[in-house]
């Protein structure tokens, strides 16, 4: 099946210090960094600049090129549209800029969404770009994340490829029987095949699950499988440096605001 489970589009194989860091440390650092960013007052523009520098530094350590990050950050575009609409739509005092009447509150609100969402997204991209899905699940497990959540994540890992593989095979079978591959025509065949796709994916998922249980799977990813060991004190402190700086920036921003 194309891609494989861990060769997902968001993962960038490598051996940088970020890649080698234990997943639980990376997860905790990402969450802490995001909390610091979100709790920063929106008027503290300099603070967001500081966060951006931090993200850039981490990306450099992870050897992830800016272009790669930018392409994957495109997922954010719908929110950007909302951020750009706010200055026109929001109420309150207005400023005139280039002949347009813009709401001050809307401008700040739009900036708030844009800056915080972008920083949070970039931090998440750096996490998943350097951590395989399997290690993410192991990390969640080690952080004592409730088992049902990690199980759902494991099932996603299993079903994603199943769905992609099944739909590709069904498409090839449709084409072989003379289905017109042009976009609009394809939609009809695809829609008709959706129900069948669901059933086939479900049945295959069942068989994969049976096979996992036959090899002793009990609902948790076995610890021995993780490529990275449990986080050492050094790894924890290395990972903590980023959110620690972010927290310092956030506190400074709150105090000066």
């Amino acid at each position: 099946m194309a891609g494989g489970h861990d060769a997902h589009v968001l993962y960038r194989p490598g051996s940088s210090p970020m890649h080698r860091l234990a997943p639980e440390a990376k997860l905790a650092a990402t969450v802490a960094f995001t909390v610091a960013v979100v709790s920063t007052p929106r008027e503290a523009f300099w603070a967001f600049g500081g966060y951006a520098v931090l993200v850039g530094l981490v990306a450099a350590v992870a050897r992830i090129p800016p272009g790669w990050l930018a392409r994957r950050a495109a997922i954010e575009l719908p929110f950007v549209a909302l951020a750009f609409a706010l200055p026109f739509l929001a109420a309150g005092p207005r400023v005139d800029w280039a002949g347009l009447s813009l709401s001050v509150d809307g401008l700040l609100g739009g900036w708030n969404i844009l800056a915080k969402a972008t920083l949070g997204l970039l931090a998440s991209l750096l996490l998943v770009g350097t951590t395989t899905v399997r290690d993410l699940i192991v990390g969640l497990d080690r952080l004592r994340c409730p088992a049902p959540l990690t199980q759902i994540a494991t099932f996603m890992l299993r079903y994603l490829d199943v769905l992609v593989g099944e739909s590709r095979r069904m498409r090839v079978a449709r084409l072989a029987r003379g289905d017109d591959p042009r976009f609009l025509w394809q939609v009809r065949g695809f829609a008709a095949g959706l129900g069948a796709l669901f059933l086939r994916a479900y049945e295959r998922g069942e068989r994969v699950w049976l096979a996992m249980r036959a090899r002793g799977w009990t609902g948790r990813m076995p610890a021995g499988l993780s490529a990275t060991g449990v986080a050492t004190a050094r790894q924890w402190s290395a990972a903590a440096s980023v959110p620690a700086v972010a927290a310092a920036v956030a506190i400074a921003a709150v105090v000066t605001a």
Binding site: H5, R134, A211, R213, A214, W217, G224
Partner: protein, 257 residues
């Protein structure tokens, strides 16, 4: 429980195994079967005879009425530790290797079973190396399973089960979709394994090649049990249960027996 061989590692005893699908359709209607340690037995039967359902009972994945005893340990769905031990003793190689291989590299997938048994580090690595060497796939350890040929995938699936050091190996349609060379290679691997083998198939020449003894299952019941050559020489018996040798083949009962 019977005495004698039933306590030896690798032995299998089924007594009155019955199972009904959730929709009320009977799948197994009282199966009795005894296998001695190290024996290789073919389980023959037409599609829908209950072969795969029976295989799932051996590892306690499905449980109905009756008893399944592997090396003296009886399957009890309420006994979690016992069930884990049963699944270590009974290794099932599923018909479709794509159902079984779900981790990003061959070595990791082979490690899944032993890691579930709690092995890690060097011990885990030596299990994986040993199992991959046993199926001649050691040089492919870091490849992605979906880049392998079908025959190689099946060998990896066998390795994934061998890595758990099973006493009883259950092969579900091991020869399906294999080209002649892959078929022969797999036969050589299976013939060289020091474990009890139950081979579920309707590939009669393959059963004849590998298993001195065969049982025929039809409509959820064992209808014949004897030396493979004798059963395959009885064209009428085969025809009654929707089995037949490929065109142009025949087994003379007197020669085979």
């Amino acid at each position: 429980m019977t005495g004698g061989t039933s306590h030896q590692p690798g032995s299998l005893v089924l007594r009155g195994v019955r199972y009904t699908y959730p929709d009320g359709q009977p799948a197994l209607s009282g199966v009795d079967l005894t296998m001695a340690p190290g024996e290789r037995v073919a389980l023959l039967g037409p599609n829908g005879a209950g072969k795969t359902t029976l295989a799932l009972h051996l590892a306690g994945i499905l449980t109905g009425e009756g008893t399944v005893t592997v090396g003296g340990l009886t399957v009890d769905p309420a006994d979690r530790a016992g069930l884990a031990e049963i699944r270590r003793r009974v290794g099932i190689v599923f018909q479709d290797p794509d159902d079984q291989l779900f981790l990003p590299t061959v070595a990791e997938d082979v490690a899944f079973g032993p890691a579930n048994l709690g092995l890690r580090g060097e011990q885990l690595r030596s299990r994986v190396d040993g199992a991959l060497a046993a199926v001649g796939m050691a040089e492919h350890r870091d490849r992605a399973p979906h880049h392998l040929s079908f025959g190689q995938k099946r060998r990896v699936a066998v390795a994934g089960v061998l890595a758990m050091h099973p006493e009883l190996l259950v092969l579900d349609e091991p020869s399906s979709n294999l080209d002649p060379a892959a078929r022969r290679e797999l036969a050589q691997i299976v013939a060289g394994l020091p474990v009890t083998v139950l081979m579920v198939t309707h590939d009669l020449p393959y059963a004849y090649q590998l298993c001195p003894r065969s049982v025929i299952i039809d409509a959820g019941r064992i209808v014949a049990d004897g030396p493979t050559g004798e059963l395959l020489g009885d064209a009428e018996l085969l025809a009654r249960h929707r089995l037949e040798l490929p065109y142009g083949f025949s087994v003379s009962p007197s020669v085979a027996a």
